[in-house]
């Protein structure tokens, strides 16, 4: 049985779970309603107490919406961060914190890290298993957009062909990410440092935008990419190439001369193959001078921790749902008080108890379903807004989507409340008919 379940495809499992949650609801509805037509009375009650009902629906919508929003947001964040790291197969850097390096290299969150020197870089670049070894240089920015030095091959790796313009031809040229608010031909002067530490005009060095990359859904969309040689040069260092007399042409990219290589905090490596990536990782991880890690693996570890947090959150969400269900039950008791007299009248007119139960049950279930559907909308919109904010702050492309988890949560909630709403129905039936009629 368990094996059979696991042999099913995920969407099939999800659909079956949904059916399993909705079937009891349908059965319950059939058992209470079959043979009766409570709808006209339910409609009358819905209309009569429309403000109380609207309040009730909003209460359910907000609480369901929060649960849905958090679940959708958490998933969006996971997918977004993973997508942003897609192009970063293997990172080799000076020994230190993998997470810090991941944040710096993939998500462009600047921090002080050690450098990989020329010898090591050359060893990486010349390894036959390496397809691309891109050095990075951080430290400058322009109006909040990080200016990152690298090689043109890495631009091609990130963007494929450029969306617009062309790659740099001199050290004064730059290529910008898709979301940088500059256009081709525009000149700008990067500042040293980033964020609060910016020192304007220290370099006194103007750059011209030559090309625009394709969108990548990562913080690199807001970065300005320049030849790494230009970063080194403006900081008064060698350019990675041996100086030659009377040489006025700018030289780009590998091979670099190890003696004139100022160092790079991180080398992004594309291996010849997946197997090659694992070999490289173990080679450079064991090397005392470097660490090598797969961003995907670090993220997976991170998601594991987040998963624990998520479990804690979903436990909290469940407790919240139970509390909401309890207050819904309370609300139903109060609402059913409002139409106690009409329900007594029905019995006075000879209505079977099951009919009265069907009116109360259908009424409560309509409210719950309406609240849950509104909650889905509320959750989706709040996840949309939250995603927008997160994307805006981090540059990571976070998209909010409603997934099966949320649908199941809602279906379970509706089922739970509709079972619970039999209780106020039964309570209505237990009260004395004559007393209710005279009240």
């Amino acid at each position: 049985m368990v094996d059979l379940w696991h042999s099913l495809s995920a969407p099939l499992q999800d659909s079956l779970l949904l059916i399993a949650l909705l079937a009891p609801l349908g059965l319950l509805g059939w058992i209470t309603i079959a043979g009766f037509s409570p709808l006209p009375l339910v409609r009358a009650i819905l209309w009569r107490f429309r403000w109380a009902n609207a309040l009730f629906v909003s209460l359910i919508a907000v609480s369901v919406g929060l649960g849905v929003g958090i679940l959708a947001q958490e998933r969006g964040l996971r997918v977004g961060t993973a997508t942003a790291a897609d192009k970063f197969d293997l990172i080799i850097a000076a020994p230190g914190s993998e997470l810090t390096m991941l944040m710096a290299a993939v998500y462009l969150q600047p921090s002080n890290v050690g450098l990989v020197d020329g010898q090591v870089y050359t060893r990486i670049a010349e390894d036959p298993l390496v397809d691309l070894a891109a050095p990075l240089a951080f430290g400058d920015s322009y109006k909040g957009a990080p200016v990152i030095g690298t090689i043109s091959e890495f631009v091609a790796h990130l963007s494929g062909t450029l969306a617009e313009g062309e790659i740099w031809q001199t050290y004064d040229h730059a290529v910008i990410g898709a979301d940088v608010p500059l256009s081709i031909g525009e000149k700008f002067e990067p500042a040293h440092g980033f964020g609060f530490a910016v020192q304007e005009g220290v370099h006194g060095h103007q750059l011209t935008v030559m090309g625009v990359m394709q969108p990548t859904g990562s913080p690199w969309d807001r970065a300005i990419l320049v030849p790494i040689e230009a970063v080194w040069e403006t900081h008064g260092m060698f350019t990675g190439h041996a100086p030659e007399d009377n040489d006025h042409t700018d030289r780009f990219g590998p091979p670099f001369d190890a003696d004139f290589f100022p160092g790079t905090p991180a080398v992004v490596v594309r291996a010849q193959s997946l197997a090659a990536a694992y070999t490289l990782q173990s080679t450079f991880a064991r090397d005392g001078e470097t660490m090598a890690f797969f961003p995907g693996a670090v993220l997976a570890g991170l998601y594991n921790v987040m998963g624990d947090v998520r479990q804690a959150m979903s436990l909290m969400a469940s407790v919240t749902q139970i509390l909401v269900a309890a207050s819904v039950l309370m609300g139903l008791f109060i609402l059913s008080q409002l139409f106690q007299r009409q329900m007594a009248l029905l019995q006075a007119l000879g209505a079977p108890r099951r009919f009265v139960l069907s009116v109360v049950w259908l009424y409560a279930t309509v409210l719950t379903i309406a609240g849950a559907l509104f909650g889905l909308v509320v959750g989706f919109v709040s996840a949309l807004v939250l995603s927008e904010v997160v994307s805006d702050r981090t540059g990571i492309n976070v998209t909010a989507q409603i997934g099966w988890g949320e649908v199941h949560l809602i279906a379970a909630f509706v089922l739970g409340v509709s079972v619970l709403s039999l209780v106020p129905g039964i309570a209505v039936l237990r009260r004395d008919i004559a007393t209710s009629l005279r009240s």
């Binding site: 409570p38 006209p40 009375l41 409609r43 009650i45 209309w47 029905l346 000879g350 009919f355 004559a434």
Partner: protein, 222 residues
């Protein structure tokens, strides 16, 4: 033909222990009509509720023919009302959001499907004969007299053999009261119903086969 009512040693006590009704014997032959008069608070409505099986007496026996409703559980009493009793309440008790037709035919919502169409048609026939033509407007906007007629149509819509009416003409002008009385009594006669009516309306009481007066929960046979 409607059933005969027989009541013996009936005592109804309020939750606080006050005696509301104390009737040693009261009988109404099958298909006959009986008026109940008496001052306000005497226990007239309480008696009507008791014979409808809506309240459980502290002691005594109420039977409609062989059906001893004081021996029955609530479920059975409800089923008895569904089959046999048409009731007009003192304060009408309508569903304000529903129209006159939906109110008069409200039992159709829980009666067996086979009876529904006929029940709804009968309800509308009575509404028409009571002079109510606007049958879909919510009764919340109806006058007291119009509501009273809707309540009467509801009591007659089913196949009831017992008609229990609490002040059915109280909200009506003289002519309207007489017209409704005519219609009710026509129906009662045509269907052979047994009828108990609580009223202050002398014109209505005069047309009953018998009249009893209640004071302080006790019957003064008149």
């Amino acid at each position: 033909m409607g059933p005969a009512l027989s009541i013996s040693d009936l005592r109804v006590t309020s939750p606080s222990g006050r005696s509301l009704l104390d009737v040693s014997s009261l009988n109404l032959p099958a298909g006959k009509t009986m008026g109940i008069a008496g001052p306000s608070g005497a226990g007239k409505s309480t008696l009507l509720f008791a014979v409808a099986g809506l309240i459980v007496p502290t002691a005594g026996r109420i039977a409609w023919d062989d059906t001893v409703i004081t021996d029955m559980r609530q479920r059975a009493r409800t089923a008895f009302r569904r089959r046999s009793v048409g009731m007009i309440f003192q304060d009408f008790l309508l569903f304000d959001e529903l129209g006159a037709a939906a109110n008069a035919g409200v039992s159709a919502l829980f009666q067996p499907a086979a009876k529904r169409v006929a029940l709804q048609e009968t309800a509308e026939t009575h509404l028409n004969s009571f002079g109510l033509s606007d049958v879909s407007r919510p009764v919340a906007s109806f006058s007291g007299g119009e509501r009273q007629r809707v309540a009467a149509a509801r009591a007659l819509a089913g196949e009831a053999t017992i008609l229990l009416a609490d002040e059915p003409t109280a909200s009506l002008h003289r002519e309207a009261a007489d017209a409704l009385t005519d219609d009710l009594l026509d129906q009662v006669a045509a269907r052979g119903m047994t009828m108990v009516v609580v009223s202050h309306d002398a014109a209505l009481l005069n047309r009953m086969d018998s009249v009893v007066e209640i004071t302080d929960g006790r019957i003064n046979h008149g």
